[in-house]
C-alpha cells in the first residue's frame, strides 16, 4: 500500500463534524468582526437624532461631524498600522504640532509658499522614521520611545515658532481646510478634509490587505519571533509603520494648519494621540497586534465624533460630556469583547 497519503482522507466522522461546526463558528466570528462597532455607531446616530428633535441628520450637521472626525481619522489610520504590529505611538499629537509649525513657517517664504504642504508631511515622516529607527534598531520598547518623543517633539514644535503662534492668512491650498468638493451643485458637497481622510483610509486598506507589506505587518504583530524566522525583515516593517504614523500625523498637521491658517506649537494637537488610540481600539483592533482592520478604525473615529457632536446637540454640559464619552468607550469595548469571547485572543 504505497499510497498512504490518499487513503488517509477518511470519511467524515466526529472530528469532521466538529470541523464543520468550527468553520461555521469562525464564519460568524468573521462577520461579527467585520461589522464590528457599526451597529453601535448607527444606534448612537439614531439616538441623538431622536433626543435632539431631529437636528442630527441634517446636511449641515453631518458635514460638521465628518469635518471634525477627519483629522482624528487620519491620525488613527497611522495608529492602526502601529497597533497592528503590537506597538503604540504616543507622539502623534506632538508630531502633528511640529509638522504644522514647519508647514506654516515654509508657507511664509514667498518663493517656497506652495511647498509648505510637502514640508509638513516630510517633517512628520522624519519624526516617525526616527521613532521607528529607535524601536527597530535599538530594540527599545515603543511605549518608552514614543513617550519620550511625545515630550521632545512638543518641545521642537515650540522651538520652531520661538514659542509663538504663527499666522498666514494667505496660506496656499487653504481650500483643503475649509472648502468642500461639490458633487451636486447646491445639494451634495463633501468637505475636502473628509475627502482626504477617506483617501487615507482607502490607501491604508490597499496597503494592509493587498500588498506583501500588509501581510508582513499582520505577521509581525501576530508573532514577531516567527516572522523573523520566516525571513521577514522585522526591522524594516517596524520603521515603515512608525514612518507611516509620523507621515500621517504630518498630513493631519497640514490639514489642521490649512483649516486654522495658523499653528501654535504648545496647544496644537494636545492629547490627540488618545483619541487616535481610542478610535483604533473601538474599531476592534487587538491591542497586542495581529488582528484588526482599517474600516473598524474609521467607524471608531466616527463614533468619537458623533459622540462629541451629539452630546452638544442635546445640550449636555461640557463636564458631563467627558464622563459620558469615557463610559461609552469602556462600555463599547466591553460589549465587543463579550461578543468575541472564545476567539483566539482580544
Amino acid at each position: 500500500m504505497p499510497d498512504n497519503g490518499a487513503s488517509a482522507k477518511a470519511a467524515p466522522t466526529a472530528p469532521g463534524l466538529a470541523a464543520a461546526q468550527e468553520t461555521r463558528r469562525q464564519r460568524t466570528r468573521a462577520i461579527v468582526r467585520a461589522v464590528g462597532m457599526l451597529p453601535v455607531l448607527l444606534l448612537l446616530c439614531i439616538g441623538f437624532h431622536v433626543l435632539s428633535d431631529g437636528r442630527f441628520f441634517t446636511g449641515q450637521n453631518i458635514g460638521i461631524v465628518v469635518q471634525q472626525s477627519a483629522v482624528n481619522t487620519v491620525l488613527a489610520a497611522g495608529m492602526t498600522f502601529v497597533i497592528l504590529t503590537g506597538g503604540i505611538d504616543l507622539s502623534v499629537g506632538s508630531i502633528l504640532a511640529a509638522a504644522a509649525m514647519a508647514g506654516l513657517i515654509v508657507s511664509k517664504f514667498p518663493d517656497l509658499g506652495p511647498l509648505w504642504l510637502p514640508a509638513a508631511v516630510v517633517t512628520g515622516a522624519a519624526f516617525g522614521i526616527l521613532n521607528g529607527g529607535l524601536i527597530a534598531l535599538l530594540r527599545l520598547p515603543p511605549f518608552i520611545v514614543t513617550l519620550g518623543s511625545l515630550t521632545a517633539v512638543r518641545g521642537v514644535a515650540r522651538l520652531l515658532g520661538a514659542d509663538t503662534t504663527v499666522f498666514n492668512p494667505s496660506i496656499p491650498y487653504a481650500v483643503i481646510g475649509n472648502g468642500a468638493l461639490t458633487l451636486v451643485p447646491g445639494i451634495v458637497s463633501i468637505p475636502w478634509l473628509w475627502v482626504i481622510a477617506l483617501l487615507v483610509i482607502l490607501v491604508s486598506w490597499l496597503v494592509l490587505k493587498r500588498t506583501v507589506l500588509g501581510v508582513h505587518i499582520y505577521a509581525v504583530g501576530g508573532n514577531e519571533s516567527a516572522a523573523r524566522l520566516a525571513g521577514i525583515k522585522v526591522w524594516a516593517v517596524l520603521i515603515f509603520v512608525y514612518g507611516v504614523s509620523g507621515l500621517l500625523a504630518g498630513l493631519a498637521g497640514a490639514m489642521q494648519a490649512a483649516r486654522l491658517y495658523a499653528a501654535n506649537g504648545l496647544q496644537l494637537g494636545q492629547s490627540y494621540e488618545l483619541d487616535a488610540i481610542t478610535a483604533v481600539i473601538l474599531g476592534g483592533t487587538s491591542f497586542v497586534g495581529g488582528i484588526g482592520s482599517i474600516w473598524g478604525t474609521l467607524v471608531g473615529a466616527l463614533i468619537i465624533a458623533v459622540l462629541s457632536n451629539g452630546l452638544i446637540l442635546i445640550g449636555v454640559s461640557d463636564v458631563w460630556q467627558y464622563v459620558i464619552k469615557g463610559l461609552v468607550i469602556i462600555g463599547a469595548v466591553a460589549l465587543d469583547r463579550y461578543r468575541l469571547q472564545g476567539s483566539a485572543r482580544t
Partner: protein, 507 residues
C-alpha cells in the same frame, strides 16, 4: 487483581450535536500501568476531563471506583474520588516552594498563620520516597522539568490518590529524566497505584504498559494485554487502516551518491555549540540525534543565522556563504522547520493561506509588492491536497487546526520555497500517528527529488526509520556518526551510547 479500582461503563459525552465520546468502557486495576492511546481528537482528553470532574458525562454513563458508583463533579471532584492528573503543561506555581506546591489548596495553618515547618515536614517523607534530590524548601522555578514532575507526583501521593493519570509526561524530559520517571512509575505500580498513561510514543508503551486501550473518533477500539502489545497492531487500531510501512524510506542515496550540498565547518557560538562540523548530501536524509540540551537546535539556529556564530563557517554546494539572518538563509536555499511551531513557526490568528504563502509572497507579487491572490490561493489549495491538510478551507485561522495539520501547514510554507536544504527540528512532535506517517512520506519524497534533509529528533525509532545517516551530538560537540547500510541497520543502543557517553550509560 480481581476487583477493578476504576470501571467506566458506556461513558458518552456530547457537545451540542457532536458526540465526542460514544459508549466507551475502561477498566483499570490497582497495580497496573494502563496505556491509553489514540490520535489527537480521538477522545483521550475528553475521557480524562470526565475523570477529573471538568466535564460531566452524558446520562447513562456509569463510573465506579472500588465498585461504588460515583459522581465526579467540579475540579475537586476528581481529587475527592482519589484521582490525580498530571497534565502535559505542569500546573505548578514556579514562584512558590516545593512544599507550598504540594500543599497548594490544602495549606496547613496554626491560628490563622501558615505552618510552613509542618508543611515542609509533611512533604519531606514523600519526596524521600520518590527519591527526589531536592528539599521541600527549594523554589520550583529552580527545578528542571523532570524534578517538577516529581513535585506533581508528590502532590498526587500527598492527596492519597489511588489513580494517577499522566498525559504525555515525557514530552519535555530528556532521555535520562524519562528513564528515571519510568523507574518511578514502576515503583508506584508496585506500591499498588493504578496508573493511566497517555502517550503517542510506541517505545514508552512497550516499556511500561501492562495493558493498552485504544480510542478512535470517540469510540473504544479495544484493549490489548501485555502479550498482545505490538506496534503495528496498535497503529492499525489507532489509524483504522493498515499502515504497512509506518516509516517510509524508499529513497536510496547509496545508489547514486549526491554532491555535498550543506557543510558546516567547525561552527560554534561559545556557549551551547562548541565547534561542530557536518555535511549533508543531495538526496540524503541525515538524522541529528542527542539528548535534550545537547545543542542540536542551537546548531541549526547557527546554520540559518537565527543566532550569531562566533567561529566557523557554512558552505553551500562547496562555496562558503555568509548567512546572518533567517531571511538570508532562505535566499541561500535553506529552509528551517522550528521545533516550537506555536511560538516560532505559525501565525495562529492568520489564515492557513497566509501562513503557507508567507515566505514566497514577495516572489509572487505583481508590480513589486501587490499580492497575487489567485496564485496564493492556488498554492494553498495544492498544499492542502498534496499534504492532506484537513481543515474546512484554506481561509480558516491556523490556530484552530490540530497539531498534525498545523505542522503540515508550516511544512507547506517551507516547501513553497523549493529549498535545496531542509532542516526539520522535531518534525513530528505533538503530531498524531496518521499525520506522522504522512510527514515521513513527505520527507522521503523530498529526498527522492534531491533535497538534502537534516532531521533533528529525540524520537530514536523515527531517526532509525527514516535516516540514511545519523550524527550524534553530546554537550555541544559532535560525538560521532553512523551510516545505514545493507548489512547493518542503525542501532538505538549505539546512538544512545554516543548521546550519553558510555561512562554515563547507567544514568
Amino acid at each position: 487483581m480481581s476487583e477493578p479500582i476504576l470501571e467506566m461503563r458506556r461513558v458518552s459525552k456530547s457537545f451540542f450535536s457532536i458526540k465526542a465520546l460514544r459508549d466507551v468502557d475502561l477498566t483499570v486495576y490497582a497495580g497496573e500501568i494502563h496505556a491509553l492511546m489514540g490520535e489527537n481528537g480521538a477522545g483521550k482528553s475528553t475521557l480524562m476531563k470526565i475523570l477529573s470532574g471538568a466535564y460531566r458525562p452524558d446520562p447513562g454513563s456509569e463510573i465506579r471506583i472500588d465498585g461504588q458508583p460515583v459522581q465526579i463533579s467540579g475540579p475537586l471532584g476528581g481529587r475527592a474520588a482519589g484521582i490525580a492528573i498530571i497534565y502535559q503543561e505542569l500546573s505548578l506555581a514556579p514562584n512558590l516552594s516545593v512544599a507550598e506546591n504540594i500543599y497548594l489548596g490544602r495549606e496547613v495553618s496554626r491560628g490563622g498563620l501558615l505552618a510552613r515547618e509542618a508543611m515542609q515536614a509533611g512533604a519531606a517523607p514523600i519526596l524521600a520516597r520518590l527519591g527526589a534530590d531536592f528539599t521541600p524548601q527549594t523554589q520550583v522555578a529552580s527545578l528542571s522539568m523532570g524534578q517538577r514532575q516529581l513535585v506533581e507526583i508528590a502532590r498526587a501521593l500527598h492527596a492519597r490518590s489511588k489513580i494517577l493519570i499522566m498525559d504525555e509526561p515525557t514530552t519535555a524530559l530528556s532521555a535520562g529524566e524519562s528513564e528515571r520517571l519510568f523507574a518511578l512509575i514502576r515503583q508506584l505500580r508496585a506500591e499498588g497505584l493504578a496508573i493511566i498513561y497517555i502517550s503517542h510514543r510506541m517505545d514508552e508503551v512497550y516499556a511500561l504498559g501492562d495493558r493498552v486501550t485504544v480510542l478512535r473518533d470517540g469510540t473504544l477500539v479495544g484493549s490489548l494485554d501485555k502479550a498482545q502489545i505490538r506496534a503495528d497492531t496498535i497503529v492499525r487500531m489507532m489509524v483504522g487502516r493498515d499502515v504497512s510501512s509506518f516509516y517510509k524510506k524508499e529513497h536510496d542515496p547509496g545508489a547514486r551518491p549526491g554532491a555535498p550540498v550543506l557543510a558546516a565547518v567547525d561552527i560554534a557560538d561559545n556557549s551551547r555549540v562548541k565547534g561542530c562540523s557536518l555535511t549533508v548530501h543531495a538526496g540524503e536524509v541525515v538524522g541529528l540525534a542527542g539528548l535534550v540540551g545537547a545543542g542540536r537546535t542551537e546548531l541549526a539556529h547557527l546554520i540559518i543565522g537565527a543566532a550569531p556564530m562566533t567561529s566557523g563557517h557554512v558552505e553551500i554546494e562547496g562555496r562558503a556563504v555568509s548567512i546572518r539572518t533567517p531571511g538570508e538563509a532562505l535566499d541561500a536555499g535553506i529552509a528551517y522547520l522550528t521545533e516550537d511551531r506555536k511560538a516560532l513557526g505559525l501565525f495562529l490568528d492568520m489564515s492557513c493561506l497566509d501562513n503557507i504563502n508567507l515566505a514566497v509572497l514577495g516572489r509572487d507579487a505583481k508590480f513589486g509588492g501587490i499580492l497575487d491572490r489567485d496564485k496564493a490561493r492556488d498554492r494553498a489549495r495544492r498544499a492542502f491536497a498534496t499534504l492532506g491538510i484537513r481543515a474546512a478551507n484554506v481561509g480558516v485561522p491556523a490556530g484552530g487546526l490540530s497539531g498534525g495539520n498545523q505542522q503540515k501547514v508550516l511544512l507547506s510554507r517551507l516547501l513553497a520555497i523549493g529549498p535545496k536544504i531542509l532542516i526539520l527540528d522535531e518534525p513530528t512532535r505533538g503530531v498524531d500517528v496518521g499525520a506522522k506517517s504522512e510527514i515521513y512520506s513527505i520527507i522521503d519524497n523530498l529526498a527522492k527529488s534531491g533535497t538534502a534533509v537534516l532531521v533533528i529528533s529525540s524520537d530514536l525509532p523515527e531517526i532509525i526509520g527514516i535516516c540514511d545517516r545519523v550524527i550524534v551530538m553530546r554537550a555541544g560537540h559532535i560525538a560521532g556518526q553512523m551510516r545505514r547500510d545493507a548489512t547493518s541497520p542503525l542501532s538505538q543502543e549505539e546512538i544512545m551510547a554516543l548521546a550519553t557517553g558510555t561512562e554515563q550509560l547507567d544514568a
